[in-house]
Symmetry: C2
Subunit: 354 residues, 2 copies
């Protein structure tokens, strides 16, 4: 039986990096007993242009028989004008909700060859090795929101950070399980000194932690955490937090190593996995053949591991990327000083060669 992979290149550099990722995926499965069937569909701005909605029915239908989804990126200035539900990002949010991928896993690890691109001092940057687990289908992203005017014509708007006990519990279980496979330390981040949703979050952490006596648990307030990520990133192993805090902190963490273009993510939940690089759609360099495909390629490694269960193939992809970097391949975003710059295709060939 073949696995169905839905490929959603999306907007901007999405198609550039997804093309590279698909090549690596096919190559990695050569000689494996695992078979895949791929189909490509529209999402985001391109879907808006064609169907008038960011997540069209044809795409939704394809998702029904999918085992995994490989996504590029969505969004761009062209579509930044519409109302909230008619923006590319709404397609991505609906996709996450439809797939039920409540746990977004973002590993951040330094590549020693790339540390010169880090804004941090080398001795701090080189020790970064953390995993952010971001809750992805709750909180202010999906709570009730409204815009309106009061009796005096004064406009107002609100968004609701809503969490239920089970939404919190399930993502914590994913995070605790992940911590067990790593250095057994979990930092839960909230704003429990102000927010009710954070106080509930913290109580559920206490509760779930009783089932993981081997995992050391620490609570940090989101403002302190934003400091500690810069001053002591090496003190984090697994960091788990709610959706909006996770959005902010994972982007902050992503730049610490100087190689955001290399970072993959896996969103897991009720079966189907969603895999995407964490970088955005970078419309300014779209279609120029210069985007860094390694974030998408490393997302393929996660897809191989978590959805296709071929851990050895996943590891080989990761090693091929590490070797390409070690042998000096640098896309524009990674290049410093005298470095030779390679294109998206050339970088992909180097990875395939290894």
């Amino acid at each position: 039986m073949a696995y169905h992979i839905v490929v959603l290149p999306g907007d901007g550099i999405g198609p550039d990096v997804t093309r590279a990722a698909v090549q690596v995926l096919e190559h990695a499965l050569k000689g494996q007993s695992v078979e895949i069937v791929m189909s490509e569909h529209l999402i985001g701005g391109k879907a808006l242009d064609t169907y008038g909605v960011p997540l069209p029915d044809v795409t939704l239908e394809a998702l029904h028989k999918a085992d995994a989804v490989l996504l590029g990126a969505v969004g761009g200035p062209k579509w930044d004008v519409g109302p909230g539900h008619l923006r590319p990002e709404a397609g991505l949010l609906a996709l996450r909700k439809t797939l039920g991928v409540y746990a977004n896993m973002r590993p951040v690890k330094a590549f020693s060859e790339l540390l010169d691109a880090s804004p941090l001092r080398r001795e701090i940057a080189q020790r970064v090795d953390l995993l952010i687990v971001r809750e992805l289908t709750g909180g202010a992203y999906f709570g009730k929101r409204e815009r309106g005017s009061d009796a005096h014509g004064m406009q107002f708007a609100y968004d609701t950070m809503f969490y239920s006990e089970n939404e919190i519990r399930r993502v914590l279980i994913t995070a605790f399980d992940a911590a067990r496979l790593r250095r057994k330390k979990l930092t839960s981040v909230d704003k429990a000194n102000v927010l009710d949703s954070s106080r509930l979050w913290r109580e559920i952490v206490q509760d779930v932690s009783s089932h993981y006596p081997d995992v050391e648990v620490e609570h940090q307030l989101v403002d302190s955490c934003a400091m500690n990520l810069v001053t002591h990133p090496q003190s984090f192993d697994v960091l788990v937090t709610e959706n909006l805090f996770g959005d902010i902190l994972s982007d902050e963490a992503a730049v610490l190593t100087g190689s955001i273009g290399m970072l993959p993510s896996a969103s897991l939940g009720q079966g189907i996995g969603l895999y995407e690089p964490i970088h955005g759609s970078a419309p300014d360099i779209a279609g120029k053949g210069i985007a860094n495909p390694l974030g998408a390629i490393l997302s393929v490694a996660l897809l191989l591991r978590y959805s296709l269960h071929v851990d050895d193939a996943a590891t080989r992809v990761e090693q091929a990327v590490a070797k390409a970097i070690a042998h000096g391949a640098r896309t524009k975003d990674l290049a410093r000083g005298q470095d030779d710059v390679v294109t998206t295709d050339q970088m992909t060939e180097r990875v395939l060669a290894h």
Copy 2:
């Protein structure tokens, strides 16, 4: 007529640094025509211990005739157990709301002598010179919140990020005015690709900006901004954002220069100003005489400038602090390698001497 200053030392190192700040305030006004009357009151954990509430009536009454408030810090593990409204932080939030201080101003500037304590590469850290204007009396901090259980006994909790047009407009005016007095660049930070409150925020920015054609305006999403603060902090002049984003981003920005213990803040609004260092209550070093008083002392400079309108006295305090640092005075948090460490009192004396 004398200005009334209410001094609220608060918890942890709050009393240590406030004592220093009051000495400097008195010294700075010697020979000035400005007279002050000070009275000290309880807030936070200490108020909970004495009165059972974090912002007692006696303190509130004192605020009625206050022209300015000098605050130390609130909070500590001892009081982290109560329900939300019986925590030290609730006293601080009620104080902000009572005073109507909707604009929290947090200048962050590198001291070249202290750059070794920055986690950033020196060439990045030394160029940091920004002002964060954080909305302080709206958003998720003050919106409706609730905890409860549904029909199946499943717990839930929510907080509401609510903003009205005028709450947004008034803080933007403060921020635009501040940008005019600086490098005339304003970065407004929101999450307009997801949140309704952010979309309203962005519209009001557009609107207000038409009255400030001389100020360059830029919009950043909060996740990108969390990255840019680390990678390109020098690209920011004035950064304005809503309450919760401001809480996170201002703490992130505060550590970039390596001297969070030195950073002051002024909260302005409808008349009375609230001045406090941005560091927390640091219960672990409370009462030991080793806390860095410079954040509180520089907050006094802001109080002199904004509430007492004695700009020359304010500048003299700032210069005295700069000289103390230049002559090598270092409290424990600032000391590196071979540095001589001074106590809170010694640091204060050095500042007074200059």
